[in-house]
């Protein structure tokens, strides 16, 4: 390899030339070599092709448009309905994650904003009843409510459209037995009965903003 470079004296800035040297000597345009494909790559490729074929055959749901994507090929069991108070509390604890956003993880609420559920007279005390609690969770609450001497005005959304009866019963059972609360369990039948009682002219009470109960309304309940 001849290394004819004209006056390096010209290039006073030694920094750049050293970096640029290889560029000045430009090689011919690139060409192909003809080494064979390594065997291991062919073997690997073959193995992957087998995997691909097997995977395609197994996880394609018979190529149907209504077989939607899931991790398990067979039908999975949906969440079982609790058969005991213990199972209710377990399910309720998981569902409580949604409530905890406002009422906080230990049921303490946010002073002045969201009422506490721990030691609340509405949950287990003298103002508590399944009739009232079911309606609060099913339809939401709006208006001013007093809990443990503090006033709260933030509206609460209803969950009757989002949760089934056994789920609402589970979360109420959990709330009534957590953090030192000593209240009894709530059953799905009780929740269903409330829904039926709130039906007017064959139409369900809306489980959203306009259907929310007020403290006045609750006061009239047993």
């Amino acid at each position: 390899m001849s290394e004819k470079t004209p006056d390096t004296a010209d290039r006073a800035d030694a920094d750049v030339p050293e970096m640029m040297q290889p560029l000045w000597r430009e090689h011919e345009e690139p060409r192909d070599g003809f080494e064979p494909v390594p065997f291991w790559l062919t073997a690997l490729g073959g193995a992957f092709l087998f995997f691909g074929g097997w995977y395609l055959a197994t996880y394609s749901g018979a190529y149907r448009g209504d077989a939607l994507d899931r991790t398990a090929p067979a039908a999975a069991e949906s969440e079982p309905v609790p058969q005991s108070v213990e199972q209710q509390v377990e399910l309720g604890r998981r569902l409580y994650a949604t409530c905890a956003v406002c009422h906080q993880a230990e049921g303490g609420g946010l002073p002045g904003v969201y009422p506490p559920l721990k030691d609340s007279e509405w949950v287990t005390g003298d103002r508590a009843s399944v009739e009232k609690l079911a309606r609060i969770v099913l339809y939401g609450l709006r208006g001013e409510v007093t809990v443990r001497g503090e006033k709260y005005t933030a509206p609460m959304p209803g969950f009757g459209g989002l949760w089934k009866d056994y789920q609402i019963a589970a979360v109420l059972t959990f709330i009534r037995s957590a953090w030192g609360n000593k209240g009894g369990p709530v059953t799905a039948e009780q929740i269903a009965a409330v829904r039926t009682a709130e039906r007017k002219d064959g139409v369900d009470r809306p489980p959203t903003g306009s259907g929310a109960v007020t403290p006045e309304e609750l006061g009239k309940l047993p």
């Binding site: 004819k4 470079t5 290889p22 090689h27 011919e28 060409r31 192909d32 490729g45 992957f48």
Partner: protein, 476 residues
């Protein structure tokens, strides 16, 4: 080894021929590259704003045009269509002329296409910031922009293909296959996607499948082929050695064309789409191991015993960094597409880390390497400062590593926590914040590198550097 030219006269003739080719394509290639750099700097600033807003959401939180959702859309489009695409055209056109051994004709036509593209990006960018973004990922530009971009893309593709058809060199080198593929695929993809999602939209979730067929193929059939083709050109070129194996090149090209195009539905794993489509895409994604392996072996064996050249050649440094990142991001992608893995990583910052490993650590770094090579040859002016080049390389390399590690680790933990219903959502958000700050740190470093590159480019275009030494005779 490349056989050395028989005598200095042949070498001088070859150098003259190359100089003529370089002169013929100087206008459009430099226009594309300079425009690309402009969008790179702009896109990097949008990126920084968006990144900082993710851990300081009230910063610049007032005006609508600066809201995170719009800035983030703008970032993606300016770096994907402004920087990446224009750099791709610049590199592809230059390599096509060199490999066809023919001067570029229709240079002014191509320069016009570049300016048209700039107009399209500008219209699109302003449109998104003004509140007309579509929120269709990778197709966010408002309706006025796509026709402009499609026309410009068509013009560039026409020039590349016309140049190829006029070629003097009979043998079609591997880079050319990739470039031809890219310039056929991208215009068709773009027009089809715009029609099927915007103009005559298909119904419901079929739009999602068109969307991700398109968006993933922008990576797989536009950006990747140009990036891989560039590495195939520059590594042997700088070293003066042949590519290791023609057969691996063929295997790599066709398996990429086949498998990559099927991989798009891995963006919809777990989604409301038929399982067979997702499975087909997972198979396509996993099978990418074959072309990626072929390319990796080819490049590695070409570089073997010559890694010391990395010390001398900035081009090689950037391109090899890019080529290694290509292998890494593709293997990561193959694993990421498996359902059990995706269960955790989908919807998290992990995927953003992966995207940037591909588009930046692989593609952008490769494009930087190409620019450092061809710009002095087109302008006849050396780069003004080796120090700035080193700053660029290290800032970008360290920056993307910090970026990638932050989001990969943070995203993985985020994914695990999302699956654990005992962890409240807001807790997950709080725990990702340190990693998002890490991303801002990495992104700042990357932006510093881009500014260094922009400064170098401007200096070079203004002629502020020593004359490029092509007057010396060639050595082998």
């Amino acid at each position: 080894m490349n056989s050395p030219p028989a005598d200095p006269a042949t070498a001088a003739r070859a150098a003259d021929a190359r100089r003529a080719i370089d002169t013929s394509c100087r206008g459009p290639v430099l226009t594309y590259l300079a425009s690309a750099t402009f969008w790179l700097v702009g896109g990097s600033l949008f990126a920084l704003v968006a990144s900082i807003k993710m851990h300081a959401p009230d910063w610049l939180g007032g005006p609508g045009w600066l809201t995170f959702g719009r800035v983030r859309q703008t970032h993606l489009n300016t770096v994907a269509y402004g920087w990446s695409s224009m750099a791709a055209v610049a590199a592809a056109v230059w390599m096509t002329c060199r490999l066809c051994r023919i001067e570029l004709r229709y240079a002014r036509f191509l320069t016009a296409a570049a300016w048209l593209w700039n107009v399209g990006i500008a219209v699109g960018t302003v449109g998104i910031l003004a509140g007309y973004g579509s929120s269709i990922e990778w197709l966010e530009f408002p309706r006025a922009a796509p026709p402009i971009l499609a026309l410009s893309l068509g013009m560039a593709a026409a020039v590349v293909i016309a140049t190829f058809l006029r070629r003097r060199e009979e043998h079609v080198y591997v880079t050319q296959w990739y470039v031809l593929g890219a310039f056929f695929w991208m215009p068709v993809l773009y027009v089809a996607a715009v029609i099927l999602t915007r103009e005559m939209p298909v119904r419901g979730v079929v739009q999602a499948s068109v969307n991700w067929w398109y968006a993933h193929n922008v990576l797989g059939l536009w950006v990747t082929p140009v990036g891989v083709g560039t590495a195939y050109y520059l590594i042997p070129k700088v070293l003066g050695r042949p590519v290791y194996s023609y057969y691996l090149s063929v295997l790599g090209f066709w398996s990429l064309a086949l498998f990559y195009s099927w991989a798009g539905m891995h963006h919809l794993i777990g989604g409301p789409v038929p399982a067979w489509m997702v499975t087909a895409s997972i198979v396509g994604s996993v099978m990418m191991v074959i072309p990626v392996g072929a390319v990796a072996v080819n490049h590695h064996m070409t570089m073997k015993d010559h890694f010391r050249e990395l010390r001398h050649s900035p081009t090689l440094r950037f391109v090899v960094f890019g080529a290694v990142s290509y292998t890494a991001v593709s293997v990561q992608g193959s694993i990421e597409s498996l359902r059990r893995f995706s269960e955790v990583a989908h919807f998290t910052h992990y995927t953003v880390g992966h995207a940037h490993l591909g588009l930046y650590a692989f593609f952008a770094m490769t494009m930087f390497g190409a620019a450092y090579y061809f710009v002095p040859r087109l302008t006849g002016v050396e780069w003004a400062s080796a120090r700035l080049i080193r700053l660029h390389f290290w800032s970008s390399a360290v920056g993307i590593m910090i970026y990638f590690v932050s989001l990969t680790v943070g995203g993985w933990f985020q994914g695990l926590a999302l699956l654990d219903t005992d962890v409240k959502f807001i807790q997950i958000v709080r725990e990702t914040v340190p990693y998002l700050i890490g991303r801002s740190v990495g992104g700042t470093l990357m932006t510093v590198g881009h500014l260094a590159f922009a400064v170098l480019l401007v200096l070079n275009l203004l002629g502020k550097g020593k004359p490029f030494g092509e007057t010396q005779p060639l050595a082998a």
